[in-house]
Symmetry: C2
Subunit: 119 residues, 2 copies
């Protein structure tokens, strides 16, 4: 079945949430958003391209930092309203220089940092 | 630092996206939504509890199917606007009886099923 980005379910802003997962060990690296054109660009170029809600512009991940995400596989959930991209990540995924954006855990009622920035 | 659910960033509907990941092998199982009260319930009960956008009601995962998610760890991303729950999953996570909701991949322009329902 040929894939058409228009078959995905976008929210009222025209966006779909995207989870990025490391191909090597399955670590969840980040969550961001794409619009239909960003999904197309990601598939066409093999470079994961989000839509920046703050800048209202395409965001080719790593374009300025060099911490690019090469697309390994793109997956769609059962409702067609969320995407999972399996990526080959160069450098840390998080802008704080940590490997993953999910570096804070809630443990016994406290928010604790569980991951240090990459040296 | 004591954790307060009001410090999370919710969208205009009062919701935050939540990624569920299997504690055993790191598989991404599903993506759903919580409001502040669902985050609190999840932390208090140890049973992952989402907010159902279609039913506009709390959704204790597995309450009817038995396919519950026991909370192992709750993580917050750098912007405080996405959550990752590491879970001990009983049975398949997807309502289609597949282990993960992300069972469709886009390969060479085609949407292909890569995961069969659990027998």
């Amino acid at each position: 079945m040929s894939f058409d980005v228009s078959t995905l379910v976008y929210d009222e802003r025209g966006l779909i949430p995207v989870i990025a997962q490391d191909e090597v060990d399955g670590a969840v690296l980040m969550m961001a958003w794409m619009n239909a054109e960003a999904v197309e660009k990601t598939l066409e170029t093999g470079r994961v391209t989000y839509w920046s809600r703050s800048r209202q512009a395409f965001w080719v991940k790593g374009e300025s930092s060099g911490h690019v995400q090469e697309l390994v596989d793109l997956r769609i959930d059962c409702d067609g309203d969320a995407l999972l991209v399996i990526v080959r990540q160069t450098g840390p995924a998080c802008h704080t220089n940590r490997r993953s954006c999910f570096y804070t855990a809630v443990r016994e009622g406290d928010a604790v940092e569980i991951m240090a920035p990459v040296a």
